[in-house]
Amino acid sequence: MNIFLITLVRDLKMAFRNPSSFLNPLMFFVISISLFPIAISPDSETLMNIAPGIIWVITMLSVLLSLNSLFHYDYDNGVLEQIVISHHPLPLVLLAKTTAHWILSGLPIILLSPLLGITLFLDSKSIYILMLTLCLATPCLSLIGTIGASLVVSIKNSGMLLSLLILPLYIPILIFTTSAVSQSQFNLPINGQLYFLGSILIFSLITAPFISAVALRISME
């Protein structure tokens, strides 16, 4: 457990000393969402209908942007070699890195979402559901993303390949999250979507660190 906390603190410290690494995807998230009312229509009805889709698509793209730097830096300077041959369980170290990634990419999005929800005229109930779906699904984005990042770590300029690998796996999450927020706007039950998101979270939490560990060992060969 100790190595989990040590790696988590180290990754967070690294990021805060070089804030552009995690602020750029967040800036992308805020700027692109705030451009939609200007580009499409300032009409509240129109924006309210497309808000869940916009927020969730941009969330995924900004998480994808931040995934590129998850392992590349450690790979280039040799730290990843030490992580792979460490006597500590590799899935545990990778889980710590994923947690740090979520704290730096998913958590700020959850905290910013009410503000951006208001700019897209979402009502308070929809904002609450949006935050709930973000809380359940952004950890999944980081966990699944870690698998992709592990696979392409040794490939230079792998951004496009990473997107091709990961985006299909993100689609179920996109479907359940956007439909949960949209249905809540019409007071329809959303338990089903939330249960699905919860089960995806538990499944990815249990399996993703182990799959990432295998993928990373293969990539490092």
């Binding site: 100790n2 190595i3 040590i6 180290r10 410290k13 690294m14 000393r17 070089n18 830096y73 450690d74 280039d76 300077n77 040799g78 730290v79 070699e81 030490q82 992580i83 792979v84 041959i85 460490s86 006597h87 500590h88 170290v93 490092m220 060969e221």
Partner: protein, 200 residues
């Protein structure tokens, strides 16, 4: 008395067979230098012994612990081509993380380890601000606190001045005198006692 046994190791990279049926035995107190031309497989061999790469054939055993077992990984310390340092972290933070990952330590005296490699007043300096030689010295300072018995050093003297090389050579001799063993690759001259050599 510890013993590292390498049996019939073969390694292939792409279509190139780097080496085959390579066997050797290394006992406590011995230092093995792997020599060979560029691209002959020195780094690949060290990476295989470190558990980073998988050999095509063969086995490696250290004191009954097999490659990739927790005990084996704990007993081996690998320092590769890269210094494994993070530019945003200070020397001491880098050293602490590196030791946490790779080895058990004799004592948590990280300041002393940095002092030994001539980086006494650099503890809180960010690694990104240091020269290539100084970075290498931080990575090598782990040798002064590591408990691991098998040291695998890939070109440890790169970018290090002659004084630094002497310090590291003395530390390797001290480690071997205490029952450790060491495998290293270097193109530079080595003044280490009990030096065995294999050529790839």
């Amino acid at each position: 008395m510890s013993k590292l046994l390498v049996n019939n190791l073969s390694c292939q990279r792409g279509y190139n067979l780097l080496f085959e049926n390579l066997s050797f035995e290394l006992n406590s107190g011995e230092v093995l230098r792997i020599s060979g031309q560029n691209g002959s497989g020195k780094t690949s061999l060290l990476k295989i012994i470190a558990g980073l790469n998988t050999p095509e054939l063969g086995s490696i055993v250290f004191d009954q612990s097999k490659l990739n077992s927790e005990k084996y990984q704990l007993e081996t310390l690998y320092l590769g081509h890269y210094a494994a340092l993070t530019s945003e972290l200070s020397c001491i933070e880098n050293l602490k993380y590196l030791t946490n990952l790779s080895t058990e330590i004799i004592s948590p005296n990280f300041h002393n380890a940095l002092k030994e490699v001539g980086l006494k007043n650099y503890e809180h300096e960010l690694a990104g601000n240091l020269s290539a030689g100084q970075k290498r010295r931080i990575a090598l300072s782990i040798l002064f606190i590591s408990k691991s018995k098998v040291w695998l050093l890939d070109e440890p003297f790169t970018a290090i001045d002659s004084n630094g090389i002497n310090i590291i050579e003395n530390q390797i001799e001290k480690h071997c005198a205490n029952g450790g063993l060491c495998i290293l690759t270097t193109h530079q001259d080595c003044n280490i006692k009990n030096l065995k050599e294999i050529s790839l």
